[in-house]
């Protein structure tokens, strides 16, 4: 028992380092670093690279990775990414840091080699020394974790509270504008905070590696736990974050103690611990009716007053003028061109490319759901892949095990996802954007480990096979079925956008209080979007399963869902066409790389998807929208020239007459 509590405190301590690192950077920069886990993995992987692959000593490796590389990475990331994010919207902040979290493990694999690591050593010399304290064995690794936690939490707290450096950080938290008016360079403070934060991430990573294994997926789970602590701390309080971290660590250990280690339920319960803590927090807040609308704004009224704004207004009014001055063909030229290309493509392609194209069209339908919930509804949901998974897995169940007609099963899959979406929507509806992102992420992880792992879905790792409808068994025929469904759904989304509901959504997205004063029911709007998006994602997931002719739970991992969102946002979150382009990009591009480039480049697509999402920090509208706008401008210019010529032709004879 005591031994388990000691182990729990170790795990809790690592959570504590992570959650306090997250809170400090959120407080001082307004950015919740979703890439924290990936940074932790990157540094831990570097430590392994130096220590094991290159046989450097523990001290040298630790100093190089923690004291040199980690802060350097933090400073690099600050100048390359984080400094642009301070004034961005929540969505851009979340997506850009998620993009980083997608790209970093791939970069690590490319740099340090793609090898399977079974056991990762910690900071203690091997073999790990075991102390006996009052009859209880404690390993050197555990002692090092305890020391690190005490150093981080206690010394960190003292530094923040009592030193000049700490004072400057707290001043930054209070008001960046006032900090600079006091003569302190806010950039230097920010750089320092990011350097320290990546150091903490690296420390947590190296300490965690012996316990959870050196695998980027496991690190996502580690950070999910840290996120739960951050949510419970309402994004702000370090002491609460630390306490909740320890509680989660001990809870995890006690589950291991009380439940039989052979049971599958033990490992499922362990992965559910972060979500249980979040659930307790949510219920607690529902009962107390506390306001959790996080304002991601940093600082005071002065900081708000000097923020650059109005750019978006200018662009949207320009776009409206552009739209109004165009005819039908010009206005819809982009979608029409892409639709025609999409219709011709199945004829031009064959073999593996055609198979991918079918799946790409089906994936486009899922991406439309992301367009709807995040682009239209403004809700940063990271669990869209879960709904697609529910739809897909149930489509296979109904079609194969219950012998339903397959397209009916697809629809039913969507209808099964619908209430789950409504439930998640209902639970998160009054929360601020960051809470929603955090909670949907942990929800997706929970579903992935608790629900999708059921035997009926995995079928012993084979998955469940699905037959395509008898009228469209070939890839080419089914591509058109998928395209047809895609166009139906796209038209629905476009119509929704133009309807009164769409306008109400627009209002809610730009300002919730403003929408409320207009008499729009914000809650109702969000529930509608949440339900619809879950339904569409479920249908898309079902189509994807039929396109792949098999339902595999591993295709619906949360991490993959993050990549999905990253791709959709970087191509264009507000456009239906972008959803289709994103689907094609996501599936065809990696195949291009594996087919035509050497295997050493295999991580390139993931890195580029991540970089694309990071690029959102600079181009928040996505590439399709950006280029579409340029394309339309060219069309407009030509239209103008033509009409000018016409006018000239009409007016000149009169000119001669007078």
């Amino acid at each position: 028992m005591v031994q388990y509590i000691i182990a729990g405190l170790v795990l809790g301590g690592i959570y504590a380092i992570s959650s306090s690192g997250l809170v400090v950077t959120y407080e001082s920069s307004g950015i919740l670093n979703f890439a924290f886990g990936s940074i932790a993995f990157f540094i831990a992987r570097l430590y392994y690279f130096l220590n094991i692959q290159h046989n450097m000593g523990i001290t040298v490796s630790a100093v190089l990775s923690l004291v040199v590389a980690a802060p350097a990475l933090g400073i690099l990331l600050y100048f390359a990414l984080f400094r642009f994010l301070r004034l961005s919207s929540s969505l851009v902040k979340v997506v850009a840091t998620l993009g980083l979290s997608v790209a970093l493990p791939a970069v690590a694999t490319t740099l340090f080699g793609n090898i399977s690591i079974l056991v990762a050593p910690g900071l203690a010399p091997q073999p790990v020394h075991v102390f006996m304290v009052a009859g209880v064995p404690i390993t050197m690794d555990q002692v090092i974790v305890y020391i690190s936690v005490i150093l981080t939490v206690v010394v960190g707290g003292l530094v923040l509270r009592f030193t000049e450096v700490g004072l400057r950080v707290r001043a930054m938290v209070d008001s960046p504008a006032m900090t600079s008016l006091s003569g302190t360079n806010p950039v230097r403070v920010s750089v320092g905070v990011w350097a320290v934060s990546t150091f903490f991430a690296g420390l947590a990573g190296i300490l965690a590696a012996p316990i959870i294994g050196l695998d980027s997926q496991h690190f996502t789970l580690l950070v999910a736990a840290a996120f739960a602590a951050v949510v419970a701390a309402r994004l702000r309080s370090i002491p609460i974050a630390v306490m909740v971290s320890f509680a989660m660590g001990i809870a995890t250990s006690l589950i291991q103690y009380y439940l039989p280690s052979s049971s599958v339920w033990t490992s499922r319960m362990i992965t559910a611990v972060p979500f249980l803590f979040i659930a307790i927090f949510l219920v607690y807040n529902l009962i107390l009716r506390r306001d959790l609308s996080d304002s991601t704004k940093v600082g005071s009224a002065l900081d708000a007053a000097i923020e650059p704004h109005g750019q978006g207004v200018l662009e949207s009014s320009e776009a409206a003028v552009l739209d109004a001055s165009m005819g039908f063909i010009a206005r819809y030229s982009g979608p029409i061109v892409v639709a025609i290309i999409a219709m011709v493509l199945p004829f031009l392609m064959s073999g593996v490319w055609l198979t991918l194209l079918v799946q790409a069209y089906a994936l486009g339908i899922v991406f439309l759901a992301i367009t709807l919930v995040t682009g239209e509804g403004g809700m940063i949901w990271l669990c869209q892949i879960t709904f697609a998974g529910i739809g897909g897995l149930w489509t296979a169940q109904l079609a194969t095990d219950y012998h339903w007609p397959v397209l009916l099963a697809v629809l039913a899959g969507g209808l099964i996802a619908l209430p789950v979406g409504l439930l998640v929507g209902f639970l998160t509806i009054r929360l601020g954007g960051l809470y929603v992102a955090l909670i949907t992420l942990t929800f997706a992880l929970l579903m992935e480990s608790l629900y999708f792992t059921q035997g009926r879905f995995s079928n012993g790792g084979l998955g469940v096979n699905v037959l395509r409808p008898s009228f469209a068994t070939s890839d080419r025929a089914f591509a058109y079925v998928c395209l047809f469904v895609f166009i139906l759904v796209a038209l629905f989304v476009v119509n929704l956008r133009r309807s009164t509901t769409g306008m109400a959504l627009d209002a809610v997205r730009s300002s919730e209080p403003g929408a409320r004063t207009l008499g729009i029911s914000v809650v109702q709007m969000k529930i509608v979007v949440a339900g619809l998006a879950a339904l569409l994602a479920g249908i898309g997931g079902g189509m994807l399963v039929v396109a792949q002719t098999a339902a595999q739970p591993v295709n619906y991992s949360t991490f993959l869902g993050v990549v999905w969102l990253a791709v959709v946002v970087s191509i264009g979150i507000r456009s239906s066409i972008a959803a289709l382009v994103a689907g094609i990009t996501f599936l065809v591009f990696p195949q291009l790389v594996t087919t035509y480039l050497p295997t050493a480049w295999s991580q390139i697509p993931v890195i580029l998807f991540g970089l694309g999402a990071i690029g959102v920090a600079k181009f928040p509208q996505g590439t399709v929208e950006q280029n579409g706008e340029k394309f339309r401008r060219i069309l407009l210019k030509q239209a103008k020239k033509r009409s000018d010529k016409k006018e000239l032709a009409l007016t000149s004879p009169q000119g001669e007459a007078t």
Partner: protein, 240 residues
């Protein structure tokens, strides 16, 4: 004699909206210059642009013989130009003493203690409230803290933006007395004020802004009722 502060043809835009058009003004050493104008005339924007908080789109700002156009706020503060922003120029989440420590953080270590003591001597209430959170002070006390922060290490020039906003008349009076004391020390003051007459009684010169441009400027003594009425509108007589 060259002016301590010289703003030439300054323009400022917030995104698509231009707030300041070609504004020029000067402030000589030891002078008090009042900037007056209706709501939305651009007074605060002008002050923020001079102090480096918002970028200017064209024009130049010279301070103490150096070009500070495009310099960042902390660099301008270190050059000796202190801006007390509208609202309260304090860190509401930090304690009074921490506010003062932030104010003197750029000084050499040995000089920080005495500077804080000077500020507390000027405003003894700050000593009594030493460990209280600045945001929980009364409005008057917060302005004392803002002034104390600025005067702990006397700058060359202070831009005071609507310091009397939302204060009781008696507290307003003490704020003006403190500014007058600062002027006695030889500190140049650019005063942005809504209490027109109280501001003019302290000022040597006066600049009136309207819709982001200078509409009138001259000696404070020349800014008679007819000038004020035609440039600021009727009703300004009610203030002070």
């Amino acid at each position: 004699m060259a002016s301590l502060l010289s703003v030439k043809n300054l323009s400022v835009s917030y995104g698509p909206a231009q707030a300041i058009f070609d504004v020029s003004l000067t402030a000589d050493a030891g002078e008090v210059v009042a900037i007056l104008g209706a709501n939305g005339a651009g007074k605060s924007t002008l002050a923020r642009a001079i102090s480096g908080l918002v970028p200017s789109s064209s024009g130049s700002v010279e301070f103490d013989g150096a070009d500070i156009t495009g310099k960042l706020a902390h660099q301008i503060r270190r050059a000796g130009l202190s801006y007390i922003p509208e609202g309260r120029g304090i860190f509401p989440g930090l304690s009074v003493i921490e506010n003062l420590r932030m104010a003197v953080a750029q000084e050499r270590r040995a000089e920080r203690g005495p500077a804080i003591e000077r500020a507390i001597d000027m405003f003894p209430i700050l000593g009594e409230r030493r460990h209280q959170r600045a945001g929980s002070l009364s409005g008057g006390e917060q302005q004392m803290l803002a002034l104390g922060r600025v005067l702990a290490v006397p700058p060359k020039l202070i831009i005071a933006d609507e310091m009397s906003l939302g204060l009781a008349p008696i507290v307003t009076e003490s704020v003006f007395q403190s500014l007058d004391a600062a002027r006695q020390q030889g500190i140049t003051i650019v005063l942005i004020e809504q209490f027109v007459h109280r501001a003019l009684s302290l000022a040597d010169r006066c600049v009136i802004l309207g819709r982001g441009a200078v509409t009138w400027s001259g000696a404070a003594a020349d800014a008679g009722p007819e000038v004020l009425e035609s440039y600021l509108g009727a009703g300004t007589e009610l203030s002070a």
